[in-house]
Each structure stands twice: as C-alpha cells, then as structure tokens.
C-alpha cells in the first residue's frame, strides 16, 4: 500500500438550511479498498458521496483526490473555488452510480457509454465503441447495445449505468444506494456486478441499505448517523463487535434476518417503520 490515499475527506461539513447533513465527516479510502457506508435514512451517507463528487458544494472541511484538493485551488495565495471547467475535469476522474440510474434517456445504451468518453476525454469514436462493447460484455449486456434505456429493466439499466461510469476509467467509483430503486428480484444481478468490480481491485465507496452485501464486499465499513461517522472498522468489527450503542441499536433492527444469512436482503424502510 502506498502512502497517499486515493480519496481523503477531512472534517467535511454540509448544511441544507438549518439541517446539518454532514457534521464534520472524515474518511480515507486507499488504493483498491472497498468502503461501504451504512446508517439510517437521513444519516448523510448519500450526501457524503454527492459531496465527494461535487454535485453538492461543501460548506467546510476539505477533500483530496490523489492528493489534489477538490473544488478549490490556491490562486495568488488565496483559496478560491475552481472554475467550472476544472471541476468538470475532477468529476471525470470519479465514477458515480445513482439510485435512479439516470441513464441519458434520449441515447441508446451504446451511446450512453461512448459519448462521455468522446466528449470528456476526447477518445476517438472507434476506440470508445470498442471500450463500450467490452464493458457491456463485462456487465452481461452485450445484446442490449442498441436498446434504449426505457426498454430495459431497472436491474439492466443499473448495470448499464455502472458500465457507463467505468467507461471513463475512473480512479474511484461512488455508489449512491445502487439497489434501492430496484424490484427485489433485480437486486442480485446488480450486486454481482459490484462484487465482480470489488474482486477486480477497483477502489470504491458504496452507500447501501443491503446489510449482508455491505458486510460481504467491504474491506472497511463505516456507520453514519446524524451527519457524523459514528464507527469505522472491518466488517467483523462493525457487524460482530459493534462498540457504540447506536450502531448496536441500528444493527439490532436487522438481527436474526440479515446478519446470519449472507444473501438475505433487508430493506431499511421495512424495519424502520
């Protein structure tokens, strides 16, 4: 392991009005590490990845990608927001997978994968096409290259979305609850693609409600509540030996169902009610 982490988040704060969504969050992700983020709804875990990807501007703290400050730069000794063009360039070095897939609805599956490469990285069209087809094969959707997103199931759309995020060869992949919008029977096909990526050494942050998956795929697991990181540790530490009472309370809602059977999924909404 090299010294510099791929991503370093230090004391990040973000408020929406009076509500502190992130209240001093720190996190480091090393090369090839898979970090899963769990926690109740409204704990700030989605906000965290959206902030890392600069879809939301943070109010305080700092974030570094490969040691480079995200979103700001020093200009003649003063700290200033980056111009939009440089922010876009930073974003293009990270891959984002959304809860609602957000495939470009007016383009075919193939074009969803080629266009970002061509527009953002200036890849020649033919090369972008080859890469797109290779990625579609990897997520098991080679036969859907010409289809339009609305012709695919939710699970297929999410696998395309993962391939699209990979197409620009990101340093780190960020998953924002990738299976929360899916019908239960479609969850596994998406999780197996993510699992495959983890096996391939991709650096990832995965925000998820899938407790068994969060445990199985993670090198490190982060538990968040009320905009703070409450506990961090190996999956064993988090799921077998939770130290804080709040994590214990959170996990107890899943006990007997999720913790023991690795492929049993439990949605948080069901248990929270």
């Amino acid at each position: 392991m090299s010294g510099e982490p791929v991503l370093r988040v230090r004391e990040v704060r973000k408020s929406f009005g009076d509500h502190a969504a992130l209240d001093g969050v720190s996190l480091e992700v090393r090369e090839g590490e898979v970090v899963t983020v769990i926690g109740p709804s409204g704990s700030g875990k989605s906000t965290l990845v959206r902030c890392v990807h600069q879809l939301e501007a943070i109010d305080g703290g700092a974030m570094y990608l490969d040691g480079e400050l995200l979103g700001h730069e020093f200009h003649r000794g003063h700290l200033r927001p980056l111009p939009a063009r440089k922010v876009a360039a930073q974003r293009s070095r990270m891959g984002m997978v959304f809860q609602q897939f957000n495939l470009f609805a007016h383009w075919s599956v193939l074009r969803n994968l080629t266009e970002p490469q061509v527009l953002v990285h200036g890849t020649p069209v033919e090369k972008a096409r080859e890469e797109a087809l290779r990625l579609l094969e990897r997520v098991g959707l080679s036969d859907k290259a010409q289809a339009h997103p609305r012709q695919l199931s939710g699970g297929q759309q999410q696998r395309v979305a993962i391939a699209r995020a990979l197409a620009t060869n990101p340093r780190i992949m960020l998953f924002d609850e990738p299976t929360s919008a899916l019908d239960p029977e479609l969850v596994d096909e998406v999780l197996s693609v993510v699992r495959d990526l983890a096996g391939g050494g991709m650096t990832m942050i995965i925000v998820t409600h899938e407790m068994s998956f969060a445990r199985e795929v993670a090198d490190r697991c982060v538990f968040m509540e009320k905009g703070r990181v409450v506990e961090t540790g190996t999956p064993e530490e988090i799921f077998e030996h939770p130290r804080s009472p709040r994590l214990r309370a959170f996990l107890s809602r899943f006990s007997g169902r999720a913790a023991e059977t690795p492929h049993d999924r439990v949605l948080e909404e069901e248990t929270a009610s």
Partner: protein
C-alpha cells in the same frame, strides 16, 4: 332469477343510438347548404380566384410571407433559448433582465411593435457605432437602416423570442434533475450538459407549442401590410385595390395560408414523433 345460458359478451351487438343519426342528418344538411352557398353565389367569383391563384405577384408575396416567418422564427428561437437559459441563471441580474424582457415583449402587441420599429427614426435619427458616452466610429441615418423588411424582422423576432423563451424554459424545467446530475457526474461541462443532454430531452416538450407558435407567426406576418411590405396579404390587396374583386382575392390569400399551415402541421407531427423516441 339466474341466467340459464352461458353469456359471452363477444356476441353483443352495438347499441342503436338514434340521436347520433339525427345529429348526423343535421350536419349533412348544413354541409349541403354551405356547399350550395359557395357554388351558387356569383360574388365568390371562382373563375377570378383561379385566375389569380398563381399570379406572379401573389406567389412573390407568398414567398415574402414564408421567408419572413422562417427568418423571424429562427432568430426568435435562438434568442428565446438564450433568454430561457438567462432566466434560469443563478446570476440574479441576468435572470431579472431576461424576466423583464419577456414581460415587456410579450405584453406589447406585435402591430404596435411593428409601427414602433418602422418609426424608429423619430426617436433615434442616426444609428451609430462607437464607445458608449465616448467617440463614435461610424453612423448611418436610421431611415436607411430600418426598411419595412428590417422593421418587420426586428419586431417579430423580438416578439417571438419572448414567447419562445417561456416555451423553452418550460421544456428545460421538464427534464428530470437526475439527467443533469448524471451529465455533471460524467464530467460534462455546463455547455455539453445543456446542449447534449438537457436541450435534446426538452425538445419533446418544446416542439408542440413551437409548432403552434410557428403557425401563429405565419398568420401574424399579415400585419406587415400596414407598413407596405409586400407579403401575401399586401400583394392581394394591391391587386383588389385596382380590380375591386375583394372577396375572390382574399380567398386566394386564405388558400395559400391554409396550404402553408397544413404543411407546417405535417412537419410538426413528424418532429414530435422523432423527439418522442427516447421516452
């Protein structure tokens, strides 16, 4: 009592609807009456209609009407997109300026605008190019710059832009926010995100009202006859002012307006089908 037979609704016959027959008969009578009126009333002077339908001056007027419509629609749409983006901008002064523009130019009737631009020379005798409040590099008398045609183009373009701005804005707001998120997440610049992702998807919402706008502009251009620009209406007016065959020549104008509007409607349907694909 229970039904003894097995019922299959596929065997049902349509209901008899007597009122529909009555209404149909009434409509048929009215149509026959209208046809008879058109055919027998000599004042329609159908032979005169036929005589002027392809008259060179009428066709030139038609060309001017179509040209003016296309120019103003093109310029107006381009300006409208800019105004819509400006109105949605986070930079408040720009947003306010665009809102003010839209309010102003949607509020002033096009006929008033037309007369205003045509008479610009009264307000501004010379048009000059130079540094504001500073030296002037070149200037021209307004009356040589503003002809009837330029007045018409300016007036209709500015009017059209205000309407198109609102149509485009509605289209942009109709695109799912997730699409913009995804475009930004992929590292698209603001321009790429707007022109490659947002605007193409907004087109589905933008096209239908734009078609109506195109049609109403085509008919609206008939106003230019007041500033003596030789459009379709003005051309037939010139003819009937000499021959006094007012009705047949107005029918000639109606015929051409209807032809062009019908063609536009067909084009609109095709565009709608094209841009509806992704949804």
């Amino acid at each position: 009592m229970s039904e003894a037979r097995t019922v299959d609704v596929a065997a049902a016959r349509p209901r008899v609807r007597p009122m529909r027959w009555v209404a149909g008969a009434v409509m048929l009578v009215l149509a026959a009456q209208l046809g008879w009126f058109l055919y027998t009333n000599p004042r329609f002077e159908w032979p005169v209609v036929g005589q002027y339908l392809f008259h060179p001056n009428v066709l030139l007027g038609l060309g001017m009407t179509v040209l003016l419509t296309v120019i103003c629609m093109t310029l107006g749409s381009g300006l409208g997109v800019l105004l819509a983006v400006g109105r949605l901008s986070a930079f408040r002064p720009l947003s306010w300026a665009c809102t003010l523009y839209i309010g102003l130019f949607r509020g002033v009737p096009p006929l008033v605008q037309l007369l205003f631009w045509f008479n610009l020379a009264y307000l501004l005798p010379r048009i000059s190019l130079g540094v504001p409040f500073g030296p002037t590099f070149a200037s021209w008398p307004t009356n040589t710059v503003i002809s009837a045609l330029t007045a018409a183009i300016i007036g209709f373009t500015l009017h059209e832009a205000a309407y198109m701005a609102e149509i485009v804005r509605a289209g942009i707001l109709g695109v799912d926010a997730g699409q913009r998120d995804a475009a930004r997440a992929m590292g698209f610049t603001a321009g790429q995100s707007f022109f490659k992702v947002v605007l193409p998807q907004a087109m589905r919402v933008i096209i239908p009202p734009t078609g109506s706008q195109f049609i109403s502009l085509l008919k609206g251009t008939s106003l230019v006859s007041v500033i003596a620009l030789a459009d379709l209406l003005y051309s037939v007016q010139v003819i009937y002012n000499q021959t006094y065959q007012i009705v047949p020549l107005l029918i000639v104008a109606c015929f051409w307006y209807l032809i062009v509007v019908t063609l536009l409607s067909v084009g609109q349907q095709r565009l709608e089908r094209h841009f509806g694909k992704g949804q």
